[in-house]
Amino acid sequence: MSHAIQERPVSAAPRRGSLSHARLPRWSPAAIAVGSIAGGIGTGLAAGWHSKVQWGLTAALLFVLVTFAVTTKVEGSRQAKDRVATSLVWVCFVLAVVPLLSLAWVTISKGLDVLDGYFLTHSMNGVLDAEAGGGVYHALLGTIEQVGIATLIAAPIGLLTAVYLVEYGNGSRLAKAVTFFVDVMTGIPSIVAGLFVLATWNLILGFGPSGFAGAMALAILMMPVVVRSTEEMLKLVPNELREASLALGIPKWRTILKVVLPTAIGGITTGVMLAVARITGETAPVLLLVFGTKLINPNPFEGAQSSLPLYVYEQYAVGTDAAVARAWAAALVLIAFVMILNLVARGIARWKAPKTGR
């Protein structure tokens, strides 16, 4: 037991005029956590519950309740509230992390079965869906091209829209209308974006399926996310920096280009990356517009392509063991792809971000 508890009887209420009071030892939250987990497992076994979810929830509930009871007894009610809030934060954190970790674990363990150099460098050309072999190269290439084109379209437009809203809009009627429509666009289901491009580009204008058509739909989905996040980042740039620049006789457009955007570049990159991550996993518009193929088609402007989420969908639909293994491997490639993009973007953002320190 710690000093505090030895010096003073455990039940002593904090005395008036005294700044110190009985404290639980530092390791007590960990001890309570271990105890609650044991309690959760014990209850689960005793009651014969099959679902581990029930075990976990019991443990979480026990953790919060025991924390509250013990702290109220030892430290008093104000500290008890504090500790309960902290323990709730921990419980929520664990609840959020468990699905994430289990998702990563399942994808990695199942995906590694067939993921190798051959898988990454070959297409499904000449491979029957039901049998083993083949690869994901054509889908990876399609995803890179479609997402790349979509980003090339959506990022500049989104960025400039946000610059307009923050730097020039000033609550004008046009700015309000743009904000409204951006909000509406954020809520567009991806299938609707796909149908829109299908209706205009393919049916009215008469083009066939292509990576570019898919990229246009993806750009529609990406644009509002870029606008929103960039807008928030630009609003964070202190006005004093703009004024400092303007007061030097630097024109407004150069102020924006050389002072405002560089200051916000870290956040803007993160926002664009989130948008990229969002569209990389889109299946519906790709299914409608890019159509899917087993062959390598490096030209995004002509003919059907494939893409990773579409490939996963197709392989899973086939349903044989070999195809499902390929689906898992492709899912792993998809996650890794987004992850690598994220790391690269973070690297760029850190390299470009405002430097502090000496």
Binding site: E240, L241, E243, L248, G249, P251, K258, K355, T356, G357
Partner: protein, 258 residues
């Protein structure tokens, strides 16, 4: 070249709120003019009308005339960007550009305006930093970020940045309010040197500072909260601090305000 400022009938608004009312004054070239007055009486607002920074504020609007030698800053066809190159400004809070190194901060005005020769840039930066009394402290770390300096050093960096573009007039809004006495003294000395080349206007809440650095002092006041601020009197600093012609000035200076 230092220039004379001649203000007549100037009022400034924030939306519907009139912040300063009908101000007329003359600021002589190669002199230091101090603005004093209670908080909220419109000193900063007035200062910002002198280089057309007031209109940067949403809703900011100005009526009246500001003659810089013989050109009206608010005349038609006057480019505010050109005005701001002629009339530089130092803000109350140091605001170096966080993405730029010390060197780039000082060079920013020239670089971003595009009117400089590459070969001269290093010279100009060195001269400006020396002019701002900062050179010795930063000469070994010109490539380090400007935000890594102390508050006082940052403020002198901002002064160096402002004088690097060689303005004719330098406006300073409480440049020492966040500084220790030693940095304050450094900046006051600096103002003494700069007035040989520039026309300087400085806002300050520090009476001693106004008495120390300025040749002329202007006292601003406002009738009541929410009323526009007015120029009460402008006179030689000595007279303002010894024998002002308006009672309100004397009350304010001697601390019998309000």
């Amino acid at each position: 070249m230092a220039k004379r400022i001649d203000v007549s009938g100037l009022s400034a608004y924030y939306g519907a709120h009139k912040a300063i009312d009908d101000i007329s004054m003359t600021v002589e070239p190669r002199s230091v003019t101090a603005f004093i007055g209670p908080s909220g009486c419109g000193k900063s607002t007035f200062l910002r009308t002198l280089n057309r920074m007031h209109e940067v504020t949403p809703g900011g609007r100005v009526e009246g005339k500001v003659m810089l030698d013989d050109e009206n800053l608010y005349g038609t066809n006057v480019d505010p960007v050109a005005v701001r190159r002629t009339v530089g400004m130092v803000f109350q809070r140091p605001n170096p550009f966080p993405t730029m190194s010390i060197f780039d901060n000082v060079a920013a005005g020239l670089r971003l305006n595009g009117n400089y020769k590459k070969s001269q840039l290093a010279d100009i930066v060195e001269r400006s930093l020396k002019g701002a009394n900062l050179w010795n402290e930063v000469k070994d770390r010109l490539n380090k970020p400007g935000s890594g300096l102390s508050g006082g050093q940052q403020q002198r960096l901002c002064i160096a940045r402002a004088i690097a573009v060689e303005p004719d007039v330098l406006l300073m809004d409480e440049p020492c309010s966040a500084l220790d006495p030693i940095s304050t003294l450094a900046i006051e000395d600096l103002i003494g040197e700069l007035k040989e080349r520039f026309t300087i206007v400085i806002v300050t809440h520090n009476m001693q500072q106004a008495a120390r650095v300025s040749d002329r002092t202007a006292f601003f006041n406002l009738a009541a909260v929410g009323q526009p601020g007015k120029l009460i009197e402008l006179d030689d600093t000595e007279r303002i601090f010894s024998n002002p012609s308006v009672q309100a000035t004397e009350d304010y200076i001697s601390g019998r305000f309000g």
